[in-house]
Symmetry: C2
Subunit: 735 residues, 2 copies
Amino acid sequence: SSDGNIRKKEHKKLDKCHRAQRGAGEDVEHEGNSGPRGNRNTRVKLYILYNHWALKVLLYFFILVSLCLAIFEEPAVWPLPVWATMLVEVLCLLIFTIRLVHYAKVIPRDKFWKDPKNICIIVILMLTLVDMIIYGAMKSANYYGVRWSRVLRPLLLVNVTEGRQLRRAFRSIRNALPQIFYVFLLFMFSILIFSLMALKLLGKRGLKNIDGSPYFTSYLEIIFELYVLVTTANSPDIMMPAYNASFIFAAFFILYILINTYIFMSVFLAVVYNNYKKYLKEEIRQLVRAKRHKMVRAFAVLQEPREEGGEPVVTRATWNQVVQLVQPNLSNAHRELLWSVSDDKNQGAIGKVAFVQLADLLNIEVITLKSRPHPLQWLCPTLYQSAPSRLLCRMVQHRAFVIVYDLIILVNAVFIGLDEENPMIANSEWVFLALYILEILLKLYVFEPRDFFSKHSFWNWFDTIVVIAALIATIINSAMKTSKDFSSQQILDIVFILRVLRLVRVVDSIKRFRTIINTLIRIGPAILTFGQLILVVYYIFAMVGMELFKGKVTFYGQSSTDPAKAYCGNPLLNGTDFAKLNYCKNNFNNVVSSFILLVELTVVNQCSGFVTVTHISARIFFVLFHIIVVIVILNIFVAFVLEAFFVEYSVDKNTGWDNLVNAMETIDNDLGTSQSAKPNLPSLMFKIASKRYRTVDALLQRIFESDLDPEDFAENDDPEAQSSGNFANPIFGST
Amino acid sequence: SSDGNIRKKEHKKLDKCHRAQRGAGEDVEHEGNSGPRGNRNTRVKLYILYNHWALKVLLYFFILVSLCLAIFEEPAVWPLPVWATMLVEVLCLLIFTIRLVHYAKVIPRDKFWKDPKNICIIVILMLTLVDMIIYGAMKSANYYGVRWSRVLRPLLLVNVTEGRQLRRAFRSIRNALPQIFYVFLLFMFSILIFSLMALKLLGKRGLKNIDGSPYFTSYLEIIFELYVLVTTANSPDIMMPAYNASFIFAAFFILYILINTYIFMSVFLAVVYNNYKKYLKEEIRQLVRAKRHKMVRAFAVLQEPREEGGEPVVTRATWNQVVQLVQPNLSNAHRELLWSVSDDKNQGAIGKVAFVQLADLLNIEVITLKSRPHPLQWLCPTLYQSAPSRLLCRMVQHRAFVIVYDLIILVNAVFIGLDEENPMIANSEWVFLALYILEILLKLYVFEPRDFFSKHSFWNWFDTIVVIAALIATIINSAMKTSKDFSSQQILDIVFILRVLRLVRVVDSIKRFRTIINTLIRIGPAILTFGQLILVVYYIFAMVGMELFKGKVTFYGQSSTDPAKAYCGNPLLNGTDFAKLNYCKNNFNNVVSSFILLVELTVVNQCSGFVTVTHISARIFFVLFHIIVVIVILNIFVAFVLEAFFVEYSVDKNTGWDNLVNAMETIDNDLGTSQSAKPNLPSLMFKIASKRYRTVDALLQRIFESDLDPEDFAENDDPEAQSSGNFANPIFGST
């Protein structure tokens, strides 16, 4: 019984530690419960089930389904009956509700009801249900109904437990808004002043626009045109009538562009950048403190007093158990390595500081490189060790091999550029394919296949997939050509794309390029967060836009002979630039074209067509879109890319994180040498993907590293963080 | 004789110090000479003459004249005969040569010939002379000649002694070029790959552009179009034919825009920012070190041993003499203040550290606020001290007074917006003018006029000038109207502009706006450096552009009925967008329209018209312009604005510079209280314009403050700086 008690206690300890580890990157979730102790085990199981990857995938799948419903709902790409989409939506709502109930079971009730994201989800689900009932009733009574709750759908993406990064991005934006707002007011004031000046200077001169309408006579019109000038969309058209009248007026526009387009837009970037960074830094700081705090409490549970009244320590055995529980699929060797880093004085136990580091250490991605013998050396050693084979290996590993293949790629690029109708050129494709396959085979002959296809050999994977896909597509293509004298355009397109993609490989050969590309690949996950952010905003604008503008502009196919084609099916557009430039397909008639149109609006804000077909107030929609997407979100995106590159360039600062990585690298070399002395162990090497981070949190932590005190793990957390209960873990802390 | 010797020695000391002070912000100039000692005095006089402000103004005037010659030379705005412009140019060359010879007399010969900027000037002058002779000969023989040396003219602006900031900007750009170049290569590679893909995917589908020409069939054409797409100039036109054919192709363009317009452009900004900052920081570091080094050497000359074998010190008397010599127009009180800051322990002498600070202290702008009694109090004290007068003073100083006038401004804004043909509105202008004048008079009644119009009361000056100018212009306007029933449009325009400008004042009442505006005003001088940079680049491109494109596109006045007006006088433009959109005035026919066109090209790179009238290779000119101006210079500009705002926002870091300012503020208060105890002294107050910098150098030093060690004034300067002799001052150092 005593043994059982100890084991139970141990289990509780480890469980707590497990939570601390998991909680490391999380803000609000995973609180224990204050109910009777008997429920503990069920709750732990529920908790582990809640965090199971399959359930998360399922959740995201249903969010995706609910977002994709817009494709099938009126105005639809592929129309489905209302009952079908409604049925699917009810299913989605059901899934979301179940997930929420599950979450409510896992965390204490008061925590659940205090958390705004849960309230949000409940409100969204309720509103959606109400809207569906109203809409269904309206439809069955043949009234006109608007599915207004569709704009709420992307908000689920923000408010689910897993949308942590997205919530953080939104919070940062919300916090930065006051500052941005003041600059925006000043910017608007500047536009108003310039517009007033333009009205007084140019309005009375009887100038004409290119279409013969009076130039700059309405104040509101001028404000809008000058706002669009900031986006450079109507430059130089808007200034031409004035400029044609006199040289002097060009000075007005140049001054305007200098102040509003260049200076104010830079100030926006500066303000957005500065505020976003400030609040994000604060969030990360709190997160790191909370993580350390949890680790310290885990340490308090796990610690054992040292012999001579020294500092309490955690023994290797306990530590091993913890790590095994937290990351079951960590290799023994990797765990050894982590222990060596933590216990750098080889004392068999670690103190608090070293223990707290564990959370960071686990975030450093370590690639286990086993210098395994090549399978062929195993299968036919004599052949593989023979002189020609060795020569081949040396050749493939030589620099010249890379250069030769780079040249081949260049020649290939020329051949791709030439006319592929020429049979010689068409056949050359087979030669190139054979050469590429030969390269991969040669490399597989020389390098151990499992190393070659290791998780982090991006370019090896890229190469192989592209070449094999090209081979398959080319074979299918020629099979179709010879058998039925018919070539599928889709297959041919894929073949072309794959051919061109092969050329990208050349970038990897040039070191300078590689560093830039690697930085870009590294910020990839963070860019995905921005992708979600943009998706949420686009979706909302697409839904609103579809209600406002659906069916106003019609696209007639290429081969249509309908006379309405000349004015996009709307007589109001007759003779406008919109129709003349053949922009008819830029419409809000379904969700896909809405999204494409919103991308176009992000690049250049051209909305004259939609104002013509509806009302002048439609401009508000487009200006609002520009302010939110271009002035706020794109600037944050630029700020993020800038920050990531600055961190990359400032490699010389040797702060905590780098120290950890360096420590691991040193240990790693030690292990390497010590192991080479013991030939009975498999020759094992570690490589630290020091520049790659498991999670976005880890990347952010590194970005703001220099402002975090590595020794700062005061037991008393931030008072507000503590009181709001965001980070504290009261039950487990009390055991 | 002994006394005379001492005085002479003293003079030499001070002279050296004078140079150190002046040299503080300079890089290469002002070296002594190693000739016979007898020449010393003449040379010092020559040196002082060389740095006289009138000569500098004269030099800049003649540079301006030589640049403005382009207005009168073929293709001219106002044509002058060739001999006249040539004569003026010869005069300019003469002035430049004299200035250069003067400079050569001031600094040692070997230094002169080692300095690249002098070589540059000599080469420019020689080439210009050669070109003028050739051109003159060609003209007199009636051959066609090109004045190619005109592109060299703006380079004078860079290479004159005073163009320090500009040279530094160019050096920073040159140093950042390799990094930018690698990113640019990658960017071009990306465009090439995308173009190849576009050619293969879209070229064979028989799609048509809006003008019926085949879409995406020529590789070079695609590369160019996709390059322009990065500038967003041809979005969404370029994607419409493909998008109309299929939804899927929109994905291609969206991916392209994401990678090239958003990611690559951000990477450019990051690289330009990072490199520019790095090299500028290094330059500023060297400059500060050199300045400190010179101050240390000045200290070595001026020092006197302390009584008890302590550190050597500079006495107050010597220090006073030095400061008087260096800045003769510094008020006694200001000098007192500086001394109090330096000698913070009131020992009557200062050590090395405090002495070295002097250079920085002199760069802090101190406003002497004498709380003088109002002149009216002087003239009629009984009236000014009477109860109604006091009430008036309190009213004007009350917050409500500001609010009332802000409301008046708002009402005025509404009236300006209304139709001024209405006589009621027209007469209201007099009311508003009277109100504004009343405001200024009231303020002058309450505040001491010299304080009200002090150098740094930007808004007071702004107000008064705008209101008085508006008064004068309005009076002239109504005088003209009543006398001859004729209103000059120019005067009316000025009246309108002044009316609108008055509204700007409202910004100053809102604190949040004031801080943003102040930051912008503060970076003003630095923006002027960018202005020069842009001027140099624009001028060169304008000269080349005029040679390439002059006369190809003609603008026919508004009232012309020439049929050629429809195609800008060039049949090649018949039916093109360029002619249809009435862009005819966007041409290279004279230097003014060239500059305006280049501004338009900076905003949106539209060059199709010029390619049509010349040759497809004309695109090179426009792409080159885009790369240099938009990718490099504008990014540096954005980087500078960003950096300035970041410095502004990070007010909490309390580094050296702020310490100095704080020290001065403390002292300042002390002086104030101590002086109030002595009523016989005029009540004197200092205000520190802590956020404004005398020179761009001082601003830059503040920006990079945190990276400079305030105690770092090692005697041994950077070895390379020492050996290149850029900062050393050998002769004076040897005395």
